[in-house]
Amino acid sequence: MTLREIILRLRAWVRRDQLSRALDAELESHVDALARDLAHTGMSPADARTAARRQLGNTTVIRESSRDAWGFPRLENVLQDIRYGVRGLLHAPGFTITVILTLGLGIGANAAMFAVIDRLMFRPFPHMREPGSVHRVYVQTTVNGRRNVYATIPYARYLDLIAQAQSFSQHATVSEWRLGVGVGEHARIQKVAGVSASFFGFFNVRGVQGRLFTDVEDQRPMGSLVAVLTHEFWQTVLGSRPVLGEPLRVGKFDYTIIGILPPGFVGTVQGRPPHIFIPITTVPANLNPWQRDIYASQYSWDWMEIIVRRKDGVSVAAANTELTQAYIRSRNSQRVSNPRVLPDSLAHPRAIVAPLRNGAGPAPGPESRVLKWVSGVAGIVLLIACANVANIMLTRVLRRRREIAVRLALGVSRSRLLGQFVIEAMLLALVGVVVGLAFAQWGGSAIRALLLPEGSTLNLGTDWRTIGVAGVCAIVAALLSTIGPAVLAARSELTPSLKSGVREGSHRRSTLQTALLVTQGALSVALLVGAGLFVRSLGRVRDIPLGFDVSRVVDVYPDFRDANLETGVEDAAIRQLLAAAQSIPGTAGAARANSALFRSSTARLRIAGIDSVEQLGRFNFQVVSPEYFDVVQTRILRGRGFSSIDAPHAPRVAIVSQAMAQALWPGREPLGQCMEVTWEAAANVPYVPCTTVVGVAEDAAYQALTDEQRFVYYLNLEQMPGGWARQILVRLNGEPTATEIERVQRALQRVMPGDGLVILRKLQDVIDDQSRSWRLGTTLFVAFGGLALVVAAVGLYGVIGYTIAQRMHELGMRIALGARSSHILRLVLGQGVWFAAAGAAFGLAIAFFGARFIEPLLYKQSARDPLVYFGVAGTMILVGLVASAAPALRAIRADPNRALRSE
């Protein structure tokens, strides 16, 4: 149909009444003219008129086929079917609501997951030009079969990799930091991105105000102190006032604001977007003044990432080959200054281009695997929903068999009938999409809180990618769940259906229905097993003894932001800070510590009688002030903690963990043993003579939460040179609420010298981060498993309810013939239990064979835990009982009189 024809047809459609009248007049005058001509041949006027009408033909047919030109007849058929469908659905509200809710749950689960996964893995970054050819560069080594992949590399490596590269039309560097921004009261820690001037070239952006920085301002070793702000930062923090040319303190330096980025610009950041973009060549000096002149030539500091744009016609494989060769050359030049760089034959170095989104790259976060599983789970929920809807539709078809037979008998074509089924399903799916998106928006917030960076908002109503996916899910679901019933309906034999009443033969379940019910049950059971396993696994993670209790402890990190502070001055300031922290009312003590939780340090240890301490495992050390053990509540099991007698020049003392004591001095008294410690990596630095063990502390988790080895020793800060233990841990009396933390922050901020800032963090957050992937798996599996169970229960209830309704006559007869209620009850409940048990059996089998795939995601938890299997099977059978209870109660009230009377 050409555009002109569409327009002409539209115009005809608008004027169709007028056209119809004109046609009538035309036909009338045609008959008149014909009759007149015939009358001339000698016919009587009446005969002539009859003959003329005959010659013109059937005017109804003429009118109808003329009307085909006024509008879009096919479309009108569809519209008619839609109207018919809507009416049919409104007449069966129970059916309609059940189907819509079921589809909504299935679609919602997938929309919620997609929205998250899309943001973590696929969605192009806002404003990016041709995102398809943009990559992040990763370097990779494989030592003893163990693959290490990093995107974060030294600046010198970047120069080596890109210097001679021919594969890329653009390249840029990015590094992100949390730095103090602003001065005085308004100073806050903000996310700051150091980027090369070339970075902006990857985007279609210009400053909405001012300009972006250029190569001239991004020169090694030290670029210009200029800053570009995001629109959001400018609006929310700076109140949209004119700021161009104003200074802004970022970290240690004052930058000049030269431009504002367009709204929505986030760069290439995974988590919370940065607010301030500064030339990357100003970052090293800002962090550590002594880095200024060495960062571009040394390989010891991994701090930035590379993004590249592949040239047209350069394949990923070609780019990888070129990068890998450059990487090998780079390692060669690194080896000149550092002979310990592993030879290529051992390290198998490679450098590759990979998707820009970290989540889709070769080194995704720990959640990524769980996430993939859970998307599979969401898909299964949709399948269960489809099975359920198919079942309900089937029931409806069975119930409407007579109506369908009558319509077929009246000449409705089978294809039109099929079309009507599909349209009905599409209508349901459409509403299902809306309901599903609503579920995803409000019900999916828990998922998003776990997965997306804090503070990210998400409105599924305007998220067209997610809406599109929900739409596709809906269409697939609608087709999947209609095909069976529709084919069944269209194939139905006319005569038996027309002849038979409700009574005869209609209570037999179709095999398709049984299969669908059992499938649903089986899939839900498999999901529930997964949920059970994750719950148990998370329980085990929670039960890991930490060896400390930091639920009420906040971690304070002072950022002095002064480029020229000497170590001694800084130490004095930290001491002052500690004193201030100890005198804040409502706190239960404060201590200094060196390493943040799970970020431990190691030194070299020598113990008399042991050849190589390193071979026994990893020994972490912590430098602490004497109050430390009280603040984190690590118990001293034997001996003593640090005290005032351990003065700077008194004999050096240490406290070791119980596991470490047993590893180093098995069966012997650890107290009084001598340890020789050095924290210089070079071999020729002398060991500090002897640090005496004076106490044994309970084992505590200083490496990853789940690491078995708990070797840790504590050194007394008083006996260490300056520069150690720059963090302060503060124990609060109550829960660390936002207001409490704010109070501590203000108290400590006051004693910071100059523009210094304190950075506070709840230690519980650090611990929670460690168990995130299990919490994620648990939340999602439980949510989706629960959904699946509900859907399966509704399906079972629907089918059993329907069968019972069909069998009322038979049941009435049975009661009339003397069947007892208990017998009928058992009959119906037995049916429910049979379905549930069959589902459970298949589901457990699926779980059993899937076990080895899910086991790596669990913590100290067999994926074939009998407790979980029995529990889930029991739950399923219980659900079978509950779902058939209401139909069973209806069944025992079957009226024998009615049954007899109708006979």
């Binding site: 046609l23 035309e26 014909l34 033909g57 005017t59």
Partner: protein, 112 residues
């Protein structure tokens, strides 16, 4: 309408209407008369089927209609060819001639 009238070859109604209108504007009855007359009454059309065809051709943009007084003084709808219609006529005529020629060749049983 003599008994020797032949039925219309299917698909040629449009062509006949277009050809008729290429001679000038006609109303529906006039088109029917014209076809009958020119074919020496050899072609009969079911006159009613003219009208759906005219409606279809109008939305295709091949013809347009306008109300005029007929010679008998009554209001009548006159149909007229458009430029697109003229082009369509040329094409359909050529197609038809080719198809007839080919059919005739087959009927003669020779490939010449």
């Amino acid at each position: 309408m003599g008994n020797d009238a032949a039925p219309l070859l299917s698909g040629t109604l449009d062509l006949l209407i277009l050809k008729t209108l290429s001679a000038g504007a006609f109303h529906g009855y006039g088109i029917a008369q014209h076809i009958k007359r020119l074919s020496n009454e050899a072609l009969t059309i079911e006159e009613g089927s003219l009208y759906p065809a005219l409606q279809r051709m109008m939305v295709k943009g091949w013809i347009v209609s306008e109300s005029k007084k007929s010679p008998t003084g009554r209001d009548a709808r006159y149909y007229r060819l458009t430029a697109a219609g003229r082009k369509q006529l040329g094409q359909e005529e050529a197609d038809f001639k080719r198809s007839i020629a080919a059919t005739v060749r087959v009927l003669k049983g020779s490939n010449a």
